[in-house]
């Protein structure tokens, strides 16, 4: 019987090129790995939902499209992580997204912060995507084949988010007096929530087994990359003490409840609805 597809050769230079084509699609993670995937997925999901608030409300048409395209990429990553987590926790991606309460979410405090003005939004996208870029790069070497595959898929998208946010950070920081002031203020608004990203304790066991990337090990490069961007943008690295972030353990600010209310209302009012 005929088969096609052999003509599609995979360039060995691409990230994830060595990963087998279909081996990963039905694998079932252990409960620990599923909880880790949930943490990664929740960051992406809440990022997507927050940025999605800007649909038709962006500061200009191009940026409206850009921010919501970034949200779409984040939603795609969230779905892959949540589907995988769901196979280990015996839940569907929709059950995980729509029928968990705040305390069951593992997202960090940074991604739930309000969009604020454009400086604040760009600061948040910059910090989030820079962190995800380093994290996904590390995950390419994860002993978990599925997580490595998702990272290989998402990193190309996140690279683009970093570029976009860096470009705006420089344009605003090195722009007018007002744009500089607002970009700096946006960074300072987000800064207390950066520390939480680099805490190893929520996934310590999985770091030892080679599944998870040690977030603490990414801090040095994160700081160096950020300092370089901020220097070009004539901005200062904020010196503000970290907030007590416990999102990874289910303790969230009131922001998350409002985000979930909007995200989940339809699915909860009309369980099983399809469209």
């Amino acid at each position: 019987m005929p088969t096609v597809g052999d003509e599609l050769e995979v360039d060995p230079l691409l990230p994830g090129a060595g990963v087998p084509l279909t081996a990963t699609i039905t694998s079932v993670p252990s409960e620990d790995v599923a909880r880790y995937a949930l943490m990664l997925g929740d960051d992406a999901l809440i990022t997507a939902q927050r940025l999605g608030e800007l649909v038709a409300k962006g500061p200009e048409l191009e940026e409206d499209i850009a921010l919501t395209n970034i949200a779409l990429d984040q939603l795609g990553a969230a779905r892959m992580f949540l589907q995988y987590a769901g196979r280990g926790l015996d839940k569907t991606e929709d059950e995980l997204a729509y029928f968990r309460d705040e305390a069951e979410f593992r997202s960090c405090a940074l991604v739930e912060q309000p969009n604020g003005d454009f400086g604040q939004t760009i600061a948040k996208v910059l910090l989030t995507s820079l962190y995800q870029q380093l994290l996904y790069r590390g995950l390419l070497d994860s002993s978990d084949e599925f997580l490595a595959a998702v990272a290989a898929k998402s990193i190309k998208e996140v690279d683009y988010h970093v570029e976009h946010a860096s470009m705006w950070t420089v344009r605003l920081g090195d722009g007018t007096e007002e744009s500089h002031r607002r970009m700096q203020a946006g960074l300072e608004m987000m800064w207390p929530y950066v520390d939480e990203l680099f805490n190893d304790s929520p996934c310590a066991d999985l770091i030892d087994s080679g599944v998870a990337v040690s977030p603490a090990s990414l801090r040095e490069e994160f700081d160096a990359r950020l300092a370089e961007i901020l220097q070009t943008a004539t901005l200062r690295v904020p010196e503000i003490p970290p907030a007590r972030g416990q999102g990874r353990f289910g303790l969230h600010s009131p922001h998350l409840g409002y985000i979930l209310a909007e995200m989940q209302v339809l699915a909860r009012q009309h369980p099983g609805a399809t469209w």
Binding site: T3, D73, Q74
Partner: protein, 187 residues
């Protein structure tokens, strides 16, 4: 009665010819998001239980159907066209004679514009969308070569917006003929 092998060929052709819903001039094979199509004799259903004993029955076009297994991969991880493509693939395979179709979505290895066929790039250009200009594997994103205006073929073009009408495109404008156009990003 058509030979199963012939029907199988038709199923493969039919699946290959499914078009991208957002860019209807490109087939999913042109785009490189169709990873494989396999057609095999379907596992015997209840009605074929008798035929199974005689063995020869299904070989000569008996009651057993053909099962198509299709593997597709998304361009961008959140691409909303995938669900439509999945349904279109199902329909195309059945229309060509498949009795069972399963469409599997894989993420790995990650899709790249390097998989787009030359024919597909030519079709894009003719449709008014500038095709990707470089190799994703050759370097970091954003270092693509000059983008050629699909209307007047000038290389004197500028990026208006890094994000365009779909996740896979950016918005450009030609500085010579002044027309804005979509550019399929190197990815």
């Amino acid at each position: 009665m058509t030979e199963p092998a012939e029907t199988a060929e038709a199923i493969v052709r039919s699946v290959r010819s499914v078009c991208d819903p957002e860019i209807p001039v490109l087939t999913i094979a042109d785009l490189g998001i169709l990873r494989s199509v396999e057609v095999e004799a379907a596992a015997e259903a209840d009605e074929t239980a008798e035929g199974k004993e005689t063995g020869e029955g299904k070989e000569t076009g008996g009651t057993a159907g053909l099962r198509a297994h299709v593997v597709i991969t998304p361009t961008y991880s959140g691409c909303p066209a995938m669900e439509t493509i999945r349904v279109d693939v199902q329909r195309a395979a059945r229309a060509a004679g498949a009795t069972e179709v399963d469409v599997e979505l894989v993420f790995s290895p990650a899709w790249t514009t390097d998989w787009m066929s030359d024919e597909g790039k030519a079709k894009l250009d003719a449709y008014g969308i500038a095709p990707p200009t470089g190799k994703a594997a050759a370097g970091p994103i954003g270092l693509s070569m000059a983008v050629k205006c699909p209307l007047c073929h000038s290389l004197n073009t500028t990026e208006l917006s890094r994000f365009g009408s779909t996740a896979c495109k950016a918005l450009y404008r030609c500085s010579d003929c002044l027309e804005p156009f979509d550019y399929f990003k190197v990815h």
